[in-house]
Symmetry: C2
Subunit: 329 residues, 2 copies
C-alpha cells in the first residue's frame, strides 16, 4: 500500500505537508499542492481508513443492522429505510442471522467489536437480558420489543389497531361471519392482532373464530380448505399476513366460491409485489416499514450523538383497500 511517506519521499516534502495538501486544510502554494496531488494520483494513493479514523477526532459513523432474513421483503424495506437515514455520512454494516436464534444472539453480542457505533436489531426474538447487557456498551434500537434500558429505543407498530381496522372494514362490507387466520401463539404480534380482531368482532355483535395456524401460503390454504370441507362457512377472512391470505383465497376459489362476493379477504403487511399482482388484488394492512427503518436510523444516530429524545416510537398501520374485500353497494 502506498502511504503518505511514499508521496513525501517522492516529492521531497514532509509527511505533514503531504497530509495537508491532500486534505486541503493547511495553506500552501498552489504549486506545492499540485505537485503533491499529481504524485499521489500517479502512485495510486488511497488513504488508510483506519489510521485516518484513529488519528482524527471526527470519525465516520458505522451502524450495524441485524436482520433475521434479508430476502424477506419486510426486512429489505427496513434496510432501505435505514440506508436513507444513513445518507452520505454513515456506513451500514449488514448482519444476517439466517433465522438462527443462536446466530442472532452471537451477532448482537459481538457487533460492538467490529467498529460499530450503534446497533439496530430488526425484529428480535432474543431475550431482554442480552439487549440489556449489550446496551451498556453501545446504543441499540430495537423493533417490536420494548426495553427499559438506558441506551435503547424501541420502534413498534400498533398491530392491535391494524387488526381492528381490517376487521371493522370487513364488517362494514357486510360480513357477518369473519374468521381470523392467525399466527402461532408465542409471537407477540400474533397475540396483538388476534386481540384487535376480537375487539372489533365483539363490538359489532359478531362471533369470533380464530384459527391458529402459521405464516405460510400453505398454512392458509390448508386451514381454509379444512374449514370449508367440514361445512364451516364464512364470509370474511382476516389473515395474519399476505401469504396466508393468498392461500386462503386459493382454497376459497377451489371450493367454487368467489372473492370478494362470497368471501371478503384482507391480509397484513401489504407486500405490494404480492397484493397488486393477484386476481383479485388483495386488500391488506400496511405497515410503514421503510419509514420505520428510517426512523430507526435517525434514532440510532441521535443515540450515538448523545441526544436521545425518544424511548419508544409507535407507528400506526393503515388499511389499503383493494378488490378482495370490496363489495359494491
Amino acid at each position: 500500500m502506498v502511504k503518505l511517506r511514499d508521496i513525501a519521499e517522492e516529492t521531497g516534502y514532509s509527511i505533514s505537508t503531504v497530509s495537508k495538501a491532500l486534505s486541503g486544510k493547511g495553506r500552501m502554494s498552489e504549486e506545492t499542492r499540485n505537485t503533491i496531488l499529481s504524485v499521489a494520483k500517479q502512485l495510486g494513493y488511497t488513504p488508510d481508513f483506519y489510521a485516518k479514523s484513529m488519528a482524527s477526532k471526527t470519525k465516520i459513523l458505522v451502524i450495524g443492522l441485524i436482520v433475521p432474513d434479508i430476502t424477506n421483503p419486510f426486512f429489505a424495506y427496513l434496510t432501505r429505510g435505514v440506508e436513507r437515514a444513513c445518507g452520505e455520512s454513515c456506513l451500514l454494516v449488514l448482519m444476517d442471522s439466517f433465522r438462527s436464534l443462536h446466530r442472532e444472539e452471537q451477532l448482537i453480542r459481538t457487533a460492538r467489536f467490529y467498529g460499530v457505533n450503534g446497533v439496530i436489531v430488526g425484529n428480535s426474538r432474543v431475550n431482554d437480558e442480552l439487549i440489556n447487557e449489550i446496551s451498556k456498551y453501545v446504543p441499540v434500537v430495537i423493533f417490536d420489543k420494548e426495553c427499559k434500558c438506558e441506551n435503547v429505543v424501541s420502534i413498534v407498530m400498533d398491530n392491535y389497531y391494524g387488526a381492528y381496522l381490517a376487521t371493522k372494514h370487513l364488517v362494514e362490507n357486510g360480513c357477518k361471519n369473519i374468521v381470523h387466520f392467525g399466527g402461532t401463539q408465542e409471537l407477540y404480534v400474533s397475540i396483538q392482532r388476534a386481540h384487535g380482531y376480537e375487539t372489533a368482532v365483539k363490538e359489532s355483535g359478531l362471533e369470533s373464530h380464530i384459527a391458529r395456524i402459521g405464516y405460510t401460503f400453505d398454512d392458509g390454504y390448508k386451514a381454509a380448505k379444512k374449514l370449508l370441507s367440514v361445512g364451516k362457512t364464512f364470509d370474511g377472512a382476516f389473515c395474519m399476513n399476505d401469504l396466508v391470505a393468498l392461500g386462503v383465497m386459493k382454497a376459497i376459489k377451489e371450493e367454487g366460491l368467489k372473492v370478494p362476493e362470497d368471501v371478503a379477504v384482507v391480509g397484513f403487511d401489504d407486500d405490494k409485489q404480492l397484493c397488486e399482482v393477484t386476481v383479485p388484488s388483495l386488500s391488506s394492512v400496511r405497515q410503514p416499514v421503510e419509514m420505520m427503518g428510517e426512523t430507526a436510523g435517525k434514532a440510532i444516530i441521535e443515540l450515538i450523538n448523545g441526544h436521545s429524545n425518544a424511548k419508544k416510537i409507535i407507528f400506526s398501520p393503515s388499511l389499503i383497500v383493494r378488490d378482495s374485500s370490496l363489495r359494491g353497494g
Copy 2:
C-alpha cells in the same frame, strides 16, 4: 471510552499485560488474567476496532456491496449469497444506489475510502472506464458485465440459454404461436433473452413475435391486452420476468382464455414468493442468484488475498416447470 490504559491504571499492571490478558495470547498467572478480565468487564471495556486493525497485521476483511435496490428480491438474494461467503470473517458494508446512476457512480468511486478491501457491484449500468479506474485501487467483482481489467472478475448468467430453454419448453408443450414479452432494447440481458427466444423459435420452424415492453406487471398486462384486442392470438408467452408474466396472465384471463390450456406462460427470475402463490402457479426460468452471490463473495475474498484464479464465471439457468405451462398429454 475506556481503554487499555484505564484498565492498566486500575489494576496496576502494564498496558501490554492487559492487552495480552484480553487477547489470551501471552502466558501469565491465572490470577493476573482473572483480575484484568474482571476489571475490564466492570469498566465496560470495548476494544477500539480501528486501533486494533491498525496495530495488528491481520485485519478483518471488509467487503463493500453496491446494489441498485435492496428491496428487489434479486438483490436481496444476491446479498444473502454474499453474506454466506462472508461467514464470520468478513464484514459486509451495504451500499444502495436507490436506482440512481449518479449515486451508483459516486458509490463505486468512493467505496475505497471507507476501509473497504474489495467491492462487489451488483448489476451495474456504469461505464467500463469507471470500473477500470477504481479497479486499480481495489479489487472488484461485477455482475452482468465483462471487464478486462486486472483486478476484476465478472459473474454472468447465460440469459440466452435461459430464454432458449423456456421457449423450447413451450414448443414441446404444443405451442405454435409464441410471443415474447421482452424488455427494453438498451439492457444487455433483454437482448440476450430475446436472442435465445428467437433461436428456439426459428429452430422449431415457428415465427417469432417480440413485444418490446418493459419490466412491470402493468407493462405485461397492457401489452397482452392490446395484442388480444386486435385479434392477434397466441398460445404461448415467454415473458421477460415474472411480473410481466403475471400481467400477461391477468389479461389472458380477462379475455376469457385459460392458462395453460389456451395459452401457456413462462416467466423469468423464479421469484418463488410470486410463482408459487398465483393460480395457476407460474413456470419460470430460475437464476441461481444466491449461489452467484456466494460465488461473488468468495471471488472477492480471493482477489483480496491475491490469488485470483478466475476472470469470468458463467452460471446456467434452469427451468422450473409449474402449472402455467404444463399441458397434459
